[in-house]
Every structure is written in C-alpha cells, then in structure tokens.
Symmetry: D2
Subunit: 112 residues, 4 copies
C-alpha cells in the first residue's frame, strides 16, 4: 500500500475530540472524494460477482480483484494521509503522544 | 496476501477452453463461497461510506478499510488456489506452458 | 510489513537537529538490538548464496529468502517505531509539521 | 513483491529429482545473476550497520532498508520465475500435481 502525498486537503481539516467520542472533520471536498471512490469500488465488487456467475476465466477475475485491491488501497492512503496531517499532528501538539501507539497499531493492520 | 490451502474444492473443477473464449467451471460450492464473500464485502464498503458520512474518527474507518482489504485478499486467495489446481495444471498437462507467463503476470498484479 | 509496539525503548531516545545535519540518538540498547539483527541477516544472505551454489531445490531457497525478508521487516519496524516515538513527535512539538510529508514518503517506500 | 517476466533463462533450466533429494539445475548465467545480487545485498546490509553506528537520521536509514527489501524481492522474483518455468512445469508434466500445494505454501510465505 503506497501512501501518496495528496493535494486534496484544502480547508484545514481538523479532528476534535470531546469527552465521549472522537470525531474527524474532513472538508466536504475530501468526503466527496472518499465517497466517490467507495461508490466505484462497490460497483466493481458487484461486477466481479457477475463475472463469477458467468464462469469467466479465473485469470480475468483475478485481475479484476487486483483492481479493487488497488482502489481500496487508494482510499486507505487518502484517509491515512488526512489523518496524519490533522488528527495525529493536533493530538501530538496537544500533548497526547499516545496517538503514536494508536497509529502504529493501525499501520500494522493496514500493512498485513 | 496469503495463499491458503483450502479444502473447498470437492467436485473436480476444470477449466475448458474452446477456440474463442476460455471459461472456468467452478463447483457450485466454490461459486457459492466466492459469491457469499463478495456480498459481505459489498456490505462492508457501504458501511464505510456511512462511517465517513457521520465523521467517524479516521482511525476507526482505517481499521474497517483494513478489514475489507483482508476479506478481498481472501477472495483472491481462494480463486488463485482454484485456478492453480484446475486451469494451470490442466493447461500444463495439455502442453500449454505459456500459462506460466500468464500466471506470473497475474501474480505480479495481485501482489502490488 | 507489520509495525510492532516494542518495549525496546528505555532511555528516552531523542533526535536532535543542528543546522547542517539531522542526527538520531538511539539508546545503546536499541543500537545493539538493531546491529544484532543486521548481523544475523548478513549471515542469512551468505547462507542463501551457499544454497544456490550447491543447487539446492528452489522451494527451499525461496523459503530462506522469505525468512530474510521477514527479518529485514523486523528491523524496519523497530526503527520506524523508534523514529515515530522520538524524531516525529519532537519535530511536531517543535512546530516542524513538514516531518509528516517526510514520514508519508518513507512509509510509501517501505510499503512497496 | 512483483514477479517479473525475465529473459534471464537461456539454457533450459531443469529440476531433477532423485529418490533422496530434489535438486535444481540453474544455468550458470542464472546462478551468476542470483549470486551477484546477493553480494550487493550483503554489502548493503553492512552499510546499514555503519549508518546506525554513526547515528544517521532514522529516515535515511529507513530508506536504505527499503532499498534492501526491494533488492531481496528482486532475488525472490527471479528465483520464483525460474522455479515455475522449470521445476513446477516438469513435475506437473510428470504427474506430480502435489507441487501445486508446495507452491501455494511457498507463495504464502513470500507474500507475508
């Protein structure tokens, strides 16, 4: 999974935390970009189901699965980049260095 | 991506090729297993869209994305295992060694 | 590559930067752990050369290569964990948020 | 890890098996290519030890580790390609389809 430096962030994203639940505040632009990508992925997954139903040659289906993996990686990268630039920086600046442990754990899960 | 040795194959899968288009013939059991997994993935992707819409904390969303990546890897593994055990073996036994080049290319794409 | 939460850091690692060149100051314990792992990897690589020289069956050699990959991932994880906990936190707290771009770039390279 | 289609194979590699031990017979050209790459990797690992000893900034060391990972992946790919084209094809043609289980297991290990 490759983390890309994106220029998608415009309005300063920020991540506020209240006593009960931590929230993130992506710009509408980032939210729209993430949602559009996920819509496409949803369609691709449905497409793969159709290929399998029609006994499409395995190799062709495997390449479609690789395409969805790549698209999903793209969503993960975009979100991790936004997270690093907003939540992680803010929480470190607020003295909450335990965010690093959280980050390490999530990076582990993403990179399996 | 981890290739698992599955015992899902029961009725001998086989992959027949006609002059115009190569097809694969998974057992109904394998097709049902693949379709069930893909249905779940489709639902997970929809779920992630909902999380983003509700400004869920990035770290939680990232972990959901990792879960879908893992599920998708599972589908890829299952299909690659069936492909190796049927199409690839058959085509090599029929003297079509060029299937190895096709396999290398697809493994490349899957492992990016 | 999996990032492990290690308890290796004892004495507070810190990363100081002077005008000309950025340095890191691992504890002697961390430096010894990294060096010991790298010594083992060096020996494993030499071992693989010997296997190839003796026409060892490819599958056995491939498994040795996977072992070295895993060991090397371990070194990368250990170092990235120390880096996040020291340099990255310090530089963010000093207002140098550009360290995030550097981190994203390096994570990209490591995860190819 | 990306499996590349290499043109390195010239003289037909083949993989013979005797009752006691399975051997592979790479061409001298393939053996020289593998050994040269491993020599370079060994040198790179020694280089990284030196960087750590001199307290080189973590990010620079991490990028060196990524370079060795990439070089090691290259060796793995080259060997897996040769293995598929020789041992795997031969054993399938000899009716030893259990080589597929061995291949799946090794691909699993390599792709962790």
């Amino acid at each position: 999974m490759e983390i890309i430096q994106t220029g998608v962030t415009d309005v300063q994203e920020h991540c506020c935390s209240s006593l009960d639940e931590r929230k993130s505040h992506h710009s509408s632009k980032t939210k729209a970009a993430l949602t559009a990508r996920l819509n496409r992925i949803e369609g691709q997954v449905r497409g793969i189901k159709g290929l399998i139903e029609k006994d499409t040659y395995c190799d062709d289906v495997l390449n479609q699965i690789a395409a969805v993996q790549s698209a999903l990686n793209g969503v993960g990268k975009l979100l991790l980049t936004e997270h690093l630039k907003s939540c992680v920086v803010e929480r470190i600046q607020d003295g909450e260095v335990e965010v690093i442990e959280e980050l390490l754990k999530t990076m582990n899960t993403l990179m399996k």
